[in-house]
Assembly symmetry: none
Homo-oligomer: 155 residues x 2
């Protein structure tokens, strides 16, 4: 018999296909009840089957009314972007590298001129100096999320 993790994975993917949406919103506890399992099992599914490199991105909100969203990304056939996201998520990124990446995104028309200017201001030392010695790491985190957003199917 298939494992719990794969049945939950199947369930979520089918749900996305049926509803035809690229962004599904679910409640961890409810989903856990459907499969009569502990809530943290859901986290395991998300961590092992819906990672960024696997073409999905998960956002969650805690507290009363909390839930999580699974967003589908357009990376299924772009290995370069996949590995770029993986690489970025570990480690730091200099201002120059980040700006270079943004310039490329501008050249290839993934972003507009005004988006470029805004995003550039966001990764500047002026904006991130408050992060102290974590500046490089914060910049990497920002660039990663920019890429993920650009890769959203419904962007």
């Amino acid at each position: 018999m298939s494992t719990l993790v794969s049945r939950i994975e199947r369930y979520i993917k089918d749900l996305m296909a049926e509803t035809g949406t690229d962004c599904l919103e679910l409640k961890r506890n409810e989903l856990a009840q459907v499969f009569t399992c502990v809530p943290s099992q859901i986290n395991y599914v998300l961590e092992t089957r819906f990672r960024d490199e696997q073409g999905y991105h998960v956002i969650s909100r805690r507290g009363a009314g909390g839930c999580f969203q699974i967003i589908r990304l357009e990376v299924t056939n772009d290995d370069e972007l996949k590995s770029l996201i993986t690489k970025i998520s570990q480690g730091e990124m200099s201002r120059q590298t980040a700006e270079g990446l943004l310039s490329r995104l501008l050249e290839e028309e993934f972003i507009s001129k005004s988006e470029f200017m805004l995003l550039n201001s966001v990764i500047s030392p002026g904006a991130l100096s408050a992060a102290g010695d974590k500046e490089g790491a914060a910049r990497a985190g920002i660039m990663k999320n920019i890429l993920i957003t650009l890769l959203r199917v419904d962007f």
Copy 2:
């Protein structure tokens, strides 16, 4: 289902939009009755969704005949903008507050929907968690630079 706080937020914003006014006057107890909740719930809504940094300002009067006013700040006004930037740059900013301000900029059409999505992803915990305990400060720095770039103010 959406939370009480977000339904009250929506109600107030819709009311402002419908009446086309920048200054709404409401009674805390009446509003609480409409939503069948404790009056202090209203304070929670105001504190988390209508802060100065989010482009609103709240004034209240106690005592018999008391009430509160919610004023939409004029983001184009240079003085108000500068004091907003000053307020932001000292101290931290939560994700929710930052998102509130971005929503406001979207409403006012200072930014487009896609710019909103990009900037929103940039100030998310996912992007900034690497900054550790400096997350709030980094977010404030980012929001400050966004405003400066967007509205081309000298600061």
